[in-house]
Amino acid sequence: MESKTLKEILTAEFLSVCGGLIAGTLLSAAIDKLYLLPAIFIFLPGFLEMRGGISGSLAARLTSGLFVRAIKPEIKKSRILYGNIIAAILLAILVSSCLGIIASVANFAVFGEFSLRIVFVAVIAGVVSSTISIPLTVFAVFYFFKRGNDPNNIIGPYVTVTGDIISILSLLAAVMLV
């Protein structure tokens, strides 16, 4: 019993840290570009956490909807499904804007450097990452449900792994654009 629990916990942990390690490697490969951006280190932890918070709860809501049969596991015009997707995208934009503003203000208050560039980077990165990760989360939830798995048990590590990688890549894309 104990070894089974330990095995389950270690598997979940292993999956989630693998995403973190890949994200860290991507980060170190592109640090010369990111380092030039003021307040990037204030912004980065919140941005990495944000994806899990938004996509994780989106997946949980969709799973509940699937189990109570309010949502069908197919991409079809449905008020609840569309409502969830729109809410997740708007939340991602709202939270990333907040993170950008907090980073900019904190950087000015503590280090005396003021730049609005991080706010634009935050908004663009938020839009790019949600455009990729939200449809991916919806497809993954439907796929696991159709296969007969309980998405609640699988989607946590999935969101952590994909979320970290997508966040870093979209942040890089945003830095290149701005």
Partner: protein, 257 residues
Amino acid sequence: MKKKRKAERTVMDDILYRIDGVKDGAGKRLKRKLKKVIKHKRSKHSRTAHRIHREYKISHRTLFYMKEYSAKSNVPLKIIKESWKVLVLTAVLSSLGGLRLTYIRENIVTIMPLLIVMPALMDMVGSFGTITSSKFTNMLFFHMVTKRWWKSRELQKLFIILFVAAIAASLFIGFMSNILAYWMGFPASSSIMVKVLMITIITAVSLFGIIFSVSVIVGMYLYKKKMDPNNFLIPLTTAIADLGSLLIFSALVVLMF
């Protein structure tokens, strides 16, 4: 307008379809009750909902979903209204951790394993918060933990399992970050490797201790007050993990490098 009516029927009709009584006219009565439940304020205890659950064997989760996403509700607005506060609070806490990180940015940028290990360490500690809280809450509900929680065999076993998992996972990310940094062209050094390993192990173990203590103390208190610890413990432990991991990590980097 039409679309809204159709969406309401999907959830409610599904409930009515599943109930045999719908054939002999009892369906109309149930439909009236369901509409009443939709109108009820969430903050108040709904007797009708409880009665429907008992009489028709419809789960509370189904009733809750039908109520929350009925035709009259604006789905995106409802989700945003309920989620934005906790998400912004998490953003503020993470930014505080990030601010601390800014002081050691030179170290993080020049010592590549530190940069590689940082996101993985945050993920690991965060998921420990979720696992500890949900497992302890389950134990409370199954009466595996009593008032004298320190004597509970199950809790002692959980502590050992999570402790072993914390050590194993931190060793894994410590080694992997060094290997990945070497692969990326960072010169191999045994002293840096040992220091990175020590940082990951100390951060993971100390935060595991804090999270476990908070889960037990706050969980017992909430359970005593007849509240569901699930609703409070997971956001609390995740917030502690987010902020704590960055603060302890930064302090250790300053101490060791």
